[in-house]
């Protein structure tokens, strides 16, 4: 039982990180019909800028804020320079965002060096609680709570505010939204920047969790995020939370019981979903 609880906590924490990454991906896809293969690059940029400013100032919160800013700035630049010229052409989108991913990953090595950077958990989040026989690592709880807060916040924005209404309407039918006199291009930019910021936050939160960061990390997590987006359904916000938790839990249990299968299980999940339900488990209504 103790074991199961700690595995669940592990899985939830990983799941939340993947969710932060996948949420941006799924909204961008749902709204703009763009699959951003450079999302992992934003993730790793968030991790590096956040961690370096955390090391410089000594405050983890500053690190998170810097990561958010990095995400917003990169999101802005990317949408304007990279995405706008290739709207509506899927093959070019895939090619160009992957190329940008490559550039982002190599730029990390130029600016921060190619070596693995060790990261410590901030003091007030380090350590663990002991409840009975169960050891609960504080930082994991922090990630889980943070993830749920972000989910709650975005859920609120999407369902209760005007911006959210426009975004949801845009996912359903963007031409209609445009026809109703709303500048959908500006909404695109806004969503893209938010998605990028979410990816960057996921990066900076992941760094103390895994203990070290390196440039190729982005690609590894991006693959997990793709799997989540496919399982959850492209464009579905709730779907990506559900699928992220599913992938996180499956990963943590498999890593303990059948370590050889830990990555395979996600792939198998995705393959099964793609074959039997190519639109994903939760498909956002498309007009």
């Amino acid at each position: 039982m103790d074991l199961i609880i700690s595995l669940v906590i592990n899985g939830l924490a990983t799941g939340m990180l993947i969710f932060l990454l996948a949420a941006g991906l799924t909204l961008i896809f749902g709204l703009m019909d763009v699959l951003n293969f450079a999302h992992g690059g934003l993730f790793v940029w968030g991790a590096y800028t956040g961690i370096f400013s955390y090391a410089y100032t000594g405050s983890f919160i500053v690190g998170i804020v810097v990561a958010i800013l990095t995400g917003l700035v990169f999101g802005f630049i990317m949408e304007k320079l990279i995405i706008t010229p290739v709207y509506g052409n899927h093959v070019q989108q895939i090619l160009i965002t992957l190329g940008f991913m490559l550039v982002l990953q190599e730029m990390i090595k130029v600016f921060f060096g190619p070596n693995v950077v060790a990261v410590k958990v901030p003091e007030y989040l380090a350590g663990s609680w002991q409840v009975g026989d169960i050891i609960i690592i504080k930082y994991r709880i922090f990630i889980i709570i943070f993830g749920f807060i972000v989910f709650g916040l975005f859920h609120y924005i999407l369902t209760r505010t005007k911006v959210g209404l426009i975004v949801r309407a845009g996912v359903m039918n963007k031409d209609m939204v445009q026809a109703l006199g709303i500048n959908i291009k500006r909404i695109f930019l806004f969503v893209f920047m938010t998605g990028a910021a979410l990816a960057a936050v996921a990066g900076v939160l992941m760094a103390p969790y895994s203990g070290s960061i390196y440039a190729e990390l982005g690609m590894e997590y991006a693959i997990l995020a793709f799997i989540v987006v496919v399982i959850g359904g492209m464009g579905s916000f709730q779907g990506s939370l559900f699928a992220a938790i599913l992938v996180g839990l499956a990963g943590s249990f498999m890593a303990y019981y059948v370590p050889y299968l830990s990555l395979a299980v996600n792939m198998i999940l995705m393959a099964v979903v793609l074959i039997f339900r190519p639109q994903g488990l939760f498909q956002a209504a498309k007009g």
Binding site: V91, E106, V110, I223, L274, P278
Partner: protein
């Protein structure tokens, strides 16, 4: 074809280049250059196979490294476990091709009915899975440490190996040329241009796409086998995304939808890698030479979707004769997404 004069002239140029390449190692007695050229030719084969998918059929696969890796491992393992003779080498190429063919058939059947996004993601994921399997299955692959093996004695001489690779490249080039100009190849181009329409004309597009994926996978496996022998060493890096990215960069920069383009791309990328890494001692920024190519690649996708070869070729056709329709090269940018 309706342009025999043009064809024969370009064939003549190719033939002269071919002769020059044969003569090269005898004229220039440089070991480094021979090795570099061998590398260029091997990656040229890989890039050509990738172009069958990207340039001719219009599907983006991010899992091409898996076929390359299968070829490399087949050859390495067989040469290591059995005698290292020419016979085993040829046998290992055939075995690698068969495995790659079966795998690409299965993967293709499973994934090619999906839309381009999903296909790209799924191939990336399957290739990532294969990489993990290779890392874990240490009894056979020795993981990331890899292992060295003895190449057949004949290949001890770099020049002999170079000539073998060159001969194989020419065979692959001619075969693929025949393939893309065959009726079947024309259907692939039609799929690229407008899949919906091809379907409505009565072609089973899935069937044709699977064939393209098998051809590409088999040729990539051949490139992998040659690569392993050229290094006399293999590790899991042959399965990484980097190999796919190399093929992608070469194809895009060289020119999609032409067979000569990927070869040009291979020359550009491999020699740049060689010389720019040499410059890195003085200018550390060249250590990350891939950035320049990433940027050039992005610019190429936006501004020169036809790449070097495609742009030159269409310029040439425009200049040469307006009545000759450029049926060979249709820019990727015109590739309307039909799957939506």
């Amino acid at each position: 074809m309706n342009k025999p004069i043009l064809l024969s002239r370009s064939n003549l140029i190719l033939f002269i280049i071919f002769l020059a390449l044969i003569a090269f190692p005898f004229v220039m007695d440089s070991r480094t250059l021979t090795i570099l050229l061998t590398q260029i030719l091997i990656f040229g084969i890989l890039a050509m196979s990738y172009d069958i998918l990207l340039g001719y059929t219009g599907i983006v696969s991010f899992g091409h490294a898996m076929f390359f890796g299968i070829g490399a491992y087949c050859t390495a393992i067989m040469l290591n476990d059995f005698e290292s003779t020419i016979g085993v080498f040829l046998g290992s190429i055939v075995v690698g091709m068969i495995i790659a063919g079966i795998l690409s058939f299965l993967v293709g059947l499973l994934t090619l009915r999906l839309k381009s996004h999903f296909f790209a993601m799924l191939t990336m994921a399957i290739s990532g899975l294969l990489l993990v399997v290779a890392e874990k299955w240490r009894d056979v692959t020795k993981g990331n440490d890899g292992f060295t093996f003895k190449a057949p004695d004949v290949f001890k001489d770099r020049i002999v190996f170079y000539l073998v690779v060159l001969a194989l490249l020419v065979i692959v080039f001619i075969t693929l040329k025949r393939f893309v100009n065959s009726p079947l190849g024309r259907v692939l181009i039609a799929v690229r241009e407008n899949e919906q329409r091809t379907k409505s004309l009565g072609f089973k597009t899935l069937y044709y796409k699977v064939i393209a994926s098998i051809v590409a996978g088999v040729i990539a496996s051949l490139a992998g086998s040659l690569y392993a022998v050229s290094l006399r060493f293999v590790n899991t890096s042959v399965l990484t995304m980097e190999i796919t990215l190399d093929a992608l960069l070469m194809t895009i920069i060289g020119g999609v939808g032409t067979l000569i383009g990927p070869l040009i791309g291979s020359v550009v990328i491999e020699s740049a890698q060689h010389y720019l890494s040499g410059l890195a001692r003085d200018f550390p920024i060249f250590e990350r030479w891939i950035i320049f190519f990433g940027i050039i690649y992005i610019l190429a996708v936006i501004f020169f979707p036809k790449g070097i070869a495609g742009t030159l070729q269409s310029k040439y056709y425009q200049w040469k004769a307006k009545k000759v329709q450029t049926t060979n090269v249709v820019p990727l940018s015109k590739n309307k997404e039909s799957s939506e």
